[in-house]
Structures are given as structure tokens and as C-alpha cells.
């Protein structure tokens, strides 16, 4: 999946999970008060199943994944690490 496809998937997931109509790449979902109590487990499910990645504990800190861009960076970093192992 290329950069744009990942971004599209992430944006789609976030708008669906957070039930918001629009989300810009740098909108801070914490500051917008959109995060609900089940968000984190939805996010884990989404990333692990969609991108076939196993996230590390450090990845799951809300402070590091507040925007679409943060999540795209996280996913791409994992994909690169995964590729390096192959």
C-alpha cells in the first residue's frame, strides 16, 4: 500500500470510529475531544488487521498518535522495518 492509500485508509477509519464528518491530516483528535473510551481497541484492531502489523507497546501511547499524519508515519515505519526483516 502506498503513502496515499495508507492515508486514505487511516482517514476513513478515524472519521468512522470518531463519527466526525471531516478530519484534516494534522487535526489533533485529542484536542478536538473526539476520542471515546473504545477508540484505542478499535485502533489496534484496525491497524493490525488492515496492515498486518504487530504494534509495540510504545506505539500505543495516545500522545504519539493524535493525528492522521502520526498514524501514517507509524504504519510506514512498521512496514519498512517489516520489509527489512524479509
Amino acid at each position: 500500500m502506498n503513502h496515499e492509500e495508507i492515508k486514505q485508509q487511516v482517514t476513513e477509519f478515524l472519521t468512522r470510529s470518531l463519527r466526525t464528518k471531516e478530519l484534516k491530516d494534522d487535526d489533533n483528535i485529542l484536542e478536538l475531544g473526539l476520542v471515546h473510551s473504545l477508540f484505542m481497541i478499535q485502533l489496534i484492531m484496525f491497524i493490525e488487521k488492515t496492515f498486518h502489523l504487530e504494534l509495540e507497546e510504545e506505539d500505543l501511547d495516545m500522545d504519539n498518535i493524535k493525528t492522521v499524519n502520526d498514524l501514517v508515519v507509524l504504519i510506514e515505519r512498521h512496514q519498512q522495518t517489516g520489509a527489512a526483516f524479509q
Binding site: 477509519f13 468512522r16 470510529s17 463519527r19 471515546h36 473510551s37 473504545l38 484505542m40 481497541i41 478499535q42 485502533l43 489496534i44 484492531m45 484496525f46 493490525e48 488487521k49 488492515t50 507497546e57 500505543l60 501511547d61 495516545m62
Partner: protein, 375 residues
């Protein structure tokens, strides 16, 4: 009376049905009245793979897919809700432990739990805090490589016999999940007897007084306790409780179907009276609907669709209410005979109500469903 869920997962669910009919149902009255599941049954459940349903194969578990898991819990719920809920607790500990536990924790505990050697329990609820888990008061302090716990937990399923507790507490205001072994100094366990339903679940109250465990016993990072670990556990528990509730409703239906065929009033079997047919029809329809909601949630869970979490809430909400309604009808249809202690529908009636309370009450489900739909 076979279930559509079984079509995709016949072998495992069939084996569980045989196990339930030969080993659980014959002991159901005894377990309910003596308020315990015999230890030997856990060993037998382990041999059937039932204690490792949420344990990855790598750690000796069976890690079944969600359709199979649902079908198995339906069979267990059809047999005895206490046994079904015990398996739910195994899942609620093993699922987050597999996801957030360290390698050392997983190596040490998961194979032993799957083998039935270690019985786990999950300790969230406190005397003063039930539904509002973000307000938990049990306190954890980190000091010299140790986590020191103070506080108490109540209504902990399997607490009387558990070897390992997954305990939720607050450390500097942030949620943590900690593994505490039975026998740890400072942990006191008081049995809670006389429960209305799920009587064989061996509930206990736990008291922690300067109960100290190594910092390595933290499951997940500090701050992950409620948002990650507890939610992960509760989500899993809601799914299996929903499926167990379908099994309970199915049992109500089967008992009612047979009884109303055998019992004659006004010169014909009860089943031939239209008002009785109405009750049976409602039970059939609602049970089928609940089963389909569970199947839909199971499919989404298997796909990793984030909608799975909400669908699971909806399934648990509906299925537990279905169980209560079905048990109410079943008792009504059995008349006085159903009110006698030892009659299965009397137990089903008591057990069903608990399904509306555990893993989040119906009201918490209503609020959460409303919130996710931004009502």
C-alpha cells in the same frame, strides 16, 4: 434446534456439545446448589481445549476463530451459565495478557492457564466502583522495583479458587493492570456466597494491604490499564457473554418446548394453546435474532473491522435481554413445577438476570451505544 453458528464451526462446537451434555449438565444442579465448579471439571475443560480458547497456539492454546468461539460459548451457556462465565473470565485474562503482556509473562502464565493448571480471575469491580471504572480507587505505588497495592475488589468470579489475578488499579492517577499471584503477602480473599444466579462462580472479595509484587508484573505500560487492557478484556467478555446468553435462551426454549408437549391442560398439550404458542414463538424469534447479532459481531471481529466493538455491544445488550425474557417465559410455561428448586428453568431464570449485569450493565450498554451513534 441446531444453531446456524454451528454450520461454519461444526467440529469444535459438536465436541463441546457432547462434553456439555455428558459432563456439565448432569452436574448442573449440584454445582448450582453447592455453589462451586469442582476442580476436576477445569481439568476436563482443559482437555477439551476450553481453557485455552483465547490463548495463542504458540503458548499451548486453541486460539479459535470468533465464529467457533461464539458457537462454543453458546453450547456452554446452554449447559450451565456458571461454567460459561468461568470460560469468559479465562478469555478476559488471556486475551489482554496475550496482547499486552511481556514475553516472560506470556511464557510463564499462558501455557499453564491453557493446561488448566492455573485458574485466572479478573479484578476490576470495587465495593465503591462498579460501572464507572475510570474512578477505580485501588491504589498502586511504584517503589524499589515493586508495585504496592492497597484497596479492595468485589464480586470477582473464580476469586475463591483463582491462582492468578489480573488486578486493575491507579498509579499516580493513571490506570495500571497488575498480575498478582494467590498467596502474595497482603492479599486477603474472602468468599462471597449466596449469590442469586451464576451461583457456582465462586465469587470473592479481595483485599490488598501493602500487597507487593515485582514491577515486571505490570501488564502493559503505566496508563494503559483502563483504556487498553481493561477495555480489551471487557470487549472480549461482552462477546462471549452475548453468545452464552444465546445458549441460555436456547436452553429455556428447549425445556419449554418439551414441557409444553408433555403437559396436558384442558384436554390437550399446553403447546396447542395459542397463548402458549405466542410465548414459544417469541422465544424462537428473539433467540434467533440474538444469535444473528452475535454472528454479525463475530464476523466483524474476525475481519478486524472497528465496527466490531459496537456490534458486540449491541449483541450483548440484546442477547442478555433475550435470555431474561426467554427465562421469564420458560418459568411461566412451567407453572409451579418450574418454581421448584432443582428444576432447570428455575436456575435459568436466576442465571439469566446476571447476564444483564456482568461485562457492563444494560444501562451502560445503552449509554455506550448512544454515544457511539452520537445520539
Amino acid at each position: 434446534m441446531n444453531t446456524p453458528l454451528k454450520a461454519t464451526s461444526a467440529p469444535a462446537a459438536e465436541a463441546v456439545r457432547r462434553f456439555v451434555e455428558s459432563r456439565v449438565m448432569p452436574l448442573a444442579v449440584q454445582m448450582d446448589q453447592e455453589q462451586e465448579i469442582p476442580r476436576i471439571l477445569f481439568t476436563e475443560m482443559a482437555a477439551e481445549g476450553l481453557t485455552g480458547l483465547a490463548v495463542p497456539v504458540k503458548y499451548g492454546g486453541t486460539a479459535v476463530d470468533y465464529a467457533t468461539l461464539g458457537a462454543i460459548h453458546e453450547e456452554l451457556g446452554r449447559g450451565l451459565a456458571s461454567v460459561q462465565n468461568a470460560c469468559t473470565v479465562f478469555g478476559m485474562v488471556c486475551k489482554p495478557l496475550s496482547r499486552f503482556g511481556s514475553e516472560a509473562q506470556k511464557d510463564k502464565w499462558l501455557p499453564a492457564i491453557a493446561a488448566g493448571e492455573v485458574i485466572p480471575a479478573i479484578a476490576i469491580t470495587e465495593p465503591g466502583v462498579g460501572s464507572d471504572i475510570s474512578k477505580l480507587e485501588t491504589e498502586a505505588v511504584q517503589e524499589d522495583g515493586q508495585i504496592i497495592l492497597n484497596g479492595s475488589k468485589k464480586y470477582i468470579t473464580l476469586g475463591q479458587i483463582a491462582d492468578l489475578f489480573l488486578v486493575f488499579a491507579r498509579l499516580n492517577g493513571r490506570g495500571v493492570a497488575v498480575l498478582v499471584e494467590r498467596g502474595t503477602p497482603g492479599l486477603r480473599i474472602n468468599p462471597l456466597r449466596g449469590l442469586m444466579g451464576l451461583r457456582a462462580n465462586m465469587l470473592a472479595e479481595l483485599t490488598f494491604e501493602n500487597c507487593s509484587v515485582p514491577v515486571e508484573n505490570l501488564v502493559g505500560k503505566i496508563g494503559f490499564g483502563f483504556t487498553h487492557v481493561a477495555n480489551y478484556a471487557l470487549d472480549e467478555g461482552r462477546y462471549t457473554t452475548a453468545c452464552g446468553s444465546v445458549g441460555l435462551a436456547q436452553a429455556c426454549l428447549e425445556h419449554s418446548f418439551h414441557y409444553t408437549g408433555e403437559r396436558f391442560q384442558f384436554g390437550e398439550p399446553l403447546r396447542k394453546h395459542q397463548l402458549v404458542q405466542k410465548m414459544l414463538s417469541e422465544m424462537i424469534t428473539e433467540t434467533k435474532a440474538a444469535r444473528e447479532l452475535c454472528a454479525a459481531a463475530g464476523r466483524l471481529r474476525e475481519q478486524g473491522d472497528p465496527a466490531a466493538i459496537t456490534e458486540t455491544l449491541v449483541a450483548k445488550y440484546h442477547a442478555s435481554k433475550t435470555a431474561v425474557h426467554a427465562a421469564d417465559h420458560a418459568l411461566q410455561l412451567h407453572g409451579a413445577s418450574g418454581c421448584m428448586n432443582g428444576n432447570p428453568v428455575e436456575r435459568l431464570y436466576r442465571d439469566a438476570k446476571i447476564m444483564e449485569i456482568i461485562e457492563g450493565t444494560s444501562q451502560m450498554h445503552e449509554l455506550q451505544i448512544a454515544r457511539t451513534f452520537r445520539l
